[in-house]
Symmetry: C2
Subunit: 190 residues, 2 copies
């Protein structure tokens, strides 16, 4: 991979989402995306398997960030504290520009059931990666899987609040608040 | 739908799984499945969108059973008690013949990443249905989503233990035990 790769990936992502919003996800071809980006189809397919994957490329980076942050938490951190650290690290990556991008992707995904399914699947993979990272820290089962599900819910809830048009708070703060609400709710399940 | 439909669906399911195990999931065509079942392709496509769906048809019935059982639980039942009732109801459906079937499906699914993805997705839909049924009972958020994730984990853990070759215990008992372990684990997350 050349040192220009990240820029190429980003140009393709921006061109794709702009096309999807202008003309509808279904009707846009890879050729139209690459034309808008000023790149070739061959370049596109070096970076993405298909036009759908462009929308979810960020989630793979996120999955790695979560797993790495859980691994890097202090040895004495509880499972919930390790997940909190991962939400903080994600919050540092999620600036205002990223929020604009997330809102656009959300708009495209909301209109298509196969994209919503893809999103569910990526969420399941994020949760599986968190559970794996917790087990690596010596957390047993079913605590690791349970904490990972709580982390996944904190992530989605925080994310949904973060992309709300009226929201001005940061992702780290919102997802930390969601995590605290979930921990409090464990006492109310009977 | 005629009164013979359930039998037709089941014949197609059995023929499909027998073919998949004999000759490999990838290479089997719908024509080969219908030939083995003594039915037409037209009949197949009236019941299933594609050969993959044959493997997951049972999960949609299961999702309805879960949602209905949660709705039917006594009004005073806590979220975890309502989920326990749904696991009991599922246990009554899961007899020894069903276990043989589940083992065969598991063997086919394990060998293909797209089938494993489909399974993750159906799991996500089961969890979403449980959360919806709990909200209908007046359980607030995030408690409803959290209880549903715990129910989903109890289901998968119980299911995995149930299909183990050495297992002789029933699904209801195994999944109830998994639910109790999960509830106990909520205290250990910090």
């Amino acid at each position: 991979m050349s040192r220009w790769e990240p820029n190429t990936r980003e140009r393709l992502m921006r061109a794709a989402v702009a096309e999807f919003l202008d003309r509808g996800y279904e009707s846009v071809t890879v050729a139209e995306i690459t034309e808008r980006a000023g790149l070739t189809k061959r370049t596109f397919f070096r970076h993405y398997a298909d036009k759908r994957e462009v929308l979810f490329a960020g989630q793979e980076i996120l999955t790695r960030l979560f797993a790495d942050s859980i691994a890097a938490a202090p040895p004495e951190a509880t499972p919930i504290e390790a997940i909190g650290a991962a939400l903080d690290a994600t919050g540092e990556e999620f600036g205002p520009e990223r929020r604009e991008w997330a809102r656009k992707v959300k708009e495209v995904v909301a209109g298509h059931s196969d994209l919503r399914e893809r999103e569910l699947l990526k969420r399941a993979k994020l949760t599986a990666a968190m559970a794996g990272a917790l087990r690596e820290r010596g957390v047993g089962e079913p605590a690791a899987s349970l904490a990972a599900e709580i982390g996944g819910l904190a992530f989605s809830t925080g994310f949904a609040r973060w992309v709300e048009p009226s929201n001005e708070r940061g992702f780290g703060e919102l997802s930390r608040a969601a995590l605290a609400e979930l921990v409090a709710a464990t006492a109310s399940l009977g």
